[in-house]
């Protein structure tokens, strides 16, 4: 792919649609609006139940390990940076840079998931907070678990894209595929910022 050819592609305007916004991008934005409501309801559930702890519920502060969670939050934020670099790379047709950025994003995503698995095991086996034994456990594990599932889906999607980039079929023209995947990944990050604030930090005020 020559650099002159690259210059003719405008990644912010799709001439085949009425609005100039690519269909896949619009689909992803609409989906994310839907997902906002999804997490909104789940986070609300947690915040409501937080106000009505039945007797015997362990204080969340004694369970949480804010240092670990802060670390994994930082890692997830950095993965968003790498995701942005990946989108930038494919828009310039730079496959090599794309692969490194994707690989780093996946790696950071996996670290986040690893931290979550460690955290869950720690809560269950050391702190004796399980999904069934208290309302805190119920809402905490369901909410963060659902977010973790979103991260896992993202990691699988990213890995699929990374493998696909070796087939030679992924070119600058397909940058919208990487870009909409990036939108999803950033959204999952932003949701985590909200969860980190509403579930963890709130307990330390």
């Amino acid at each position: 792919m020559s650099s002159t050819a690259a210059a003719t592609l405008n990644h912010h305007h799709d001439p085949t649609t009425s609005t100039g916004i690519a269909n896949k991008k619009l689909l992803m934005w609409a989906f994310l609006a839907s997902d906002c409501m999804f997490f909104g309801c789940l986070i609300s559930t947690h915040l409501i139940y937080r106000l009505h702890p039945p007797p015997g519920t362990p204080p969340a502060r004694e369970v949480f390990s804010i240092e670990l969670t802060s670390f994994s939050t930082f890692i997830l934020l950095m993965s968003s940076l790498m995701m942005a670099l990946a989108v930038n790379a494919i828009q310039k047709g730079n496959l090599k840079s794309l692969r490194w950025s994707l690989l780093t994003t996946i790696f950071f995503g996996c670290i986040f998931l690893g931290c979550q698995v460690y955290e869950f095991r720690n809560f269950v086996f050391e702190k004796h907070l399980t999904i069934t034994n208290s309302i805190l456990g119920t809402t905490f594990f369901t909410l963060t678990g659902t977010h973790g599932l979103h991260v896992l889906i993202g990691v699988i999607w990213l890995s699929g894209m990374l493998l696909y980039s070796f087939t030679g079929r992924l070119t600058e023209k397909d940058s919208i595929d990487v870009e909409s995947m990036g939108l999803y990944w950033h959204f999952v990050d932003i949701v985590w910022i909200v969860i980190f604030t509403a579930v963890y930090l709130l307990e330390y005020i």
Partner: protein, 661 residues
């Protein structure tokens, strides 16, 4: 360089050689063609036929309910059977009848109205339908199982749905089925949103969109924003039932009231999901048969938008009797009164459309006028519920049943019947008999009113909903008897309506293009419309563009010839390839859902750890779905090109497209 700047949509012309896995099905007839179809019109038919099929089920359930209530102390049904009947009647009519028939119109009509050749994501559209069907199957599986059908009401209030009170798999199936219906609806709605915003023909500005298309857009937004609430509610109850969590477990701090809030945050927008498409259909039919443009088009559009917007702020009027406190009650009462305003504005606009028009009393118009009147009665009894003290008396009584049947039958169903009759000539090229159509209308109209009008009085006299029988000395005998008589008249009317449709499909008189002398673009097509919809993509000049075209034939013909040449030079008409993977993904979902909802949990003595048939079936289904989705994305969204002769037939030498359609 220029080739690079083109998108896939224009550039890829040749069929790839048939690969080992990613072969593209090309069947145009037979079972395979339906399983692999990506044509929005065929998918529309699939939705419509499924909706009508379940309409029979829901109708039979309703008749059984009415037979049971015809006389006091009846023993036709047991109380348990009665609970199954009203639960499945509600669930079926809302999710498996009105929504899919609405989706049938969205699919078939909306792309034609905006001058598009398909929806934005044809394969996703197929996936939506198949997943809808899977959800419908799961919800109804209970009829064939030992545990029976779901019996906790269409609203499934916790803690009645928890394992303590509903130990069988019936509720698991209801939960899983509704979950999948939600996935299907959201996927379809996302598709419609992108289609309407991005696939409009040149000149089709937003304020030129036909009102039905506008209502499709608003409904789709309501779907994507309200369904997540029930998704979460269903996940929570599923977690409670499968893993023993405490969301609705009162002894461990759960709050069952949360279910009601989450359910109605979805449930109230849902009623607008059911009525907005109906309002769109009516806004197409009234101008056509009044021979006038719609009165106050922008106002009708914006009141549709404000109904959708306000619809998210009124959910707690379903919960006035739960003791939310005076502030919340007052706020929700005010919002509920406020939402009556845009609805009333629409009614006045429809009356304004009729005013001074040359009314042509054809069957669709009869149903549309019936809608106007009946929906208004339903609206008036609805706004009565906004007054919280009055609502406390009406809550859970037959007054509510009367109200929502007036808006759902007198509103939604009348409009859907009007729409079926109105668009039948376009869909099948045959015209429905006026005599039989009008006979059906009068039977439905009379039967409907005889059934549901007495329920207002029954409710005010204190007859509660969802009771399977009553004593003879309550003063409810006459009302219930006539209500049952009315139900059978209504059933006969519906039967006449559909038998007429079936007869017309096979034997009806052939009709010409645009038999109603209508106003919107779908009528510019030959009937039934060809696979590629528009021989030449239209350029839109006015709000009722087909009306404009009919009066500017020379200008349009010149334009069309120019565009046809340009399109031919660009490589012809692009058609998407068919695909089997959306169907495969839905089959995977079906298997997984059976694993989650139907298979018994493993006996720990028999299997190590958490392994067992339940996990195995679920993982198998998930794996099939995953592989299908991967293949789906690998096969890509390519298509082929066709070239047309002057008369619209497909040129044989044009690429690899099979001749005919």
């Amino acid at each position: 360089m220029e080739a690079l700047a083109k998108t896939d949509f224009l550039a890829k012309d040749d069929l790839p050689e048939k690969p080992f896995v990613l072969w593209r099905p090309t069947a145009k007839t037979g079972l395979m063609s339906w399983l692999t179809t990506v044509d929005h019109k065929r998918i529309g038919f699939l939705y419509g036929i499924s909706g009508l099929f379940f309409f029979i089920f829901g109708g039979i359930e309703a008749l059984l309910i009415r037979i049971q209530l015809a006389v006091p102390n009846n023993t036709f049904l047991t109380s348990a059977q009665y609970s199954e009947m009203f639960t499945m009647h509600g669930t079926t009519m809302i999710f498996l009848v009105v929504m899919p028939i609405g989706a049938a119109f969205f699919n078939f009509i909306m792309p034609l109205q905006i001058g598009a050749r398909d929806v934005a994501f044809p394969r996703l559209n197929a996936f939506s339908f198949w997943t809808f069907l899977v959800g419908a199957i799961i919800v109804n599986l209970g009829w064939f199982m030992k545990g029976g059908a779901p019996d906790a009401g269409w609203f499934g209030y916790a803690p009645l749905t928890t394992r303590t009170f509903s130990p069988t798999h019936a509720i698991d199936m209801w939960v899983m089925g509704l979950q999948l219906l939600g996935v299907a609806s959201i996927a379809a709605a996302l598709n419609f949103i992108v289609t309407i915003i991005n696939l409009r023909a040149p000149g089709m500005t937003m304020m030129r969109l036909p009102v039905f298309t506008w209502m499709t857009l608003f409904t789709s937004f309501l779907i994507i924003l309200s369904f997540p609430a029930i998704t979460i509610a269903l996940i929570e109850i599923m977690m409670d039932r499968l893993f023993g969590t405490n969301f609705f477990e009162v002894s461990n701090g759960g709050l069952p009231i949360l279910w009601q809030h989450l359910f109605w945050i979805f449930g109230h927008p849902e009623v607008y999901i059911l009525i907005l498409p109906a309002m769109g259909i009516i806004s197409e039919i009234l101008p056509t048969f009044a021979r006038k443009p719609l009165f106050g088009y922008p106002v009708v559009v914006f009141s549709g938008a404000s109904i959708g917007f306000l619809g998210f702020g009124v959910w707690s009027h379903h919960m006035f009797t739960t003791g939310m406190g005076t502030t919340a009650t007052a706020a929700f009462a005010l919002m509920t009164m406020a939402i009556a305003v845009p609805t009333g504005v629409k009614i006045f606009n429809w009356i304004g459309t009729l005013w001074g028009g040359h009314l042509s009393m054809r069957t669709p118009m009869m149903f549309a006028l019936g809608f106007l009147w009946m929906f208004m009665i339903g609206g008036l009894s609805g706004v009565m519920h906004a007054a919280a003290p009055a609502d406390a008396q009406q809550h859970g009584s037959y007054f509510i049943v009367a109200h929502f049947h007036y808006v759902l039958i007198g509103g939604s169903l009348f409009a859907l019947f009007a729409g079926i009759h109105y668009w039948f000539p376009l869909m099948f090229g045959r015209r429905v008999s006026e005599f039989w159509g009008k006979l059906a209308f009068w039977l439905v109209f009379v039967g409907f009113n005889v059934t549901f009008f007495p329920m207002h009085f029954l409710g005010l006299e204190g007859m509660p909903r969802r009771t399977f029988t009553y004593d003879a000395n309550m003063g409810w005998n006459t009302g219930n008897f006539w209500s049952t008589v009315g139900a059978f008249i209504l059933a006969i009317g519906v039967a006449v309506y559909f038998l007429t449709m079936i007869y017309t499909y096979f034997r009806g008189a052939r009709t010409t293009r645009d038999p109603w002398d209508a106003r919107t673009l779908e009528w510019s097509l030959p009937n039934p419309p060809p696979e590629y919809n528009f021989r030449v993509l239209p350029t839109v000049h006015a709000r009722d563009d087909w009306w404009y075209e009919k009066r500017h034939t020379q200008e349009i013909a010149r334009e069309a010839a120019e565009h046809a040449r340009a399109e031919d030079a660009h490589g012809g008409i692009h058609m998407p390839f068919q695909s089997i993977y959306p169907f495969c993904a839905s089959v995977g979902i079906l298997i997984g859902a059976i694993g989650v909802a139907v298979v018994d949990p493993a006996n720990p003595a028999q299997y190590p750890g958490f392994w067992g048939p339940k996990i195995a079936v679920t993982i198998l289904g998930g794996a099939i779905m995953f592989v299908s989705v991967v293949l789906w994305s690998l096969e890509g969204n390519e298509g082929y090109h066709i070239h047309l002769n002057e008369d619209g037939s497909i040129k044989d030498d044009a690429g690899h497209a099979p001749a005919g359609h």
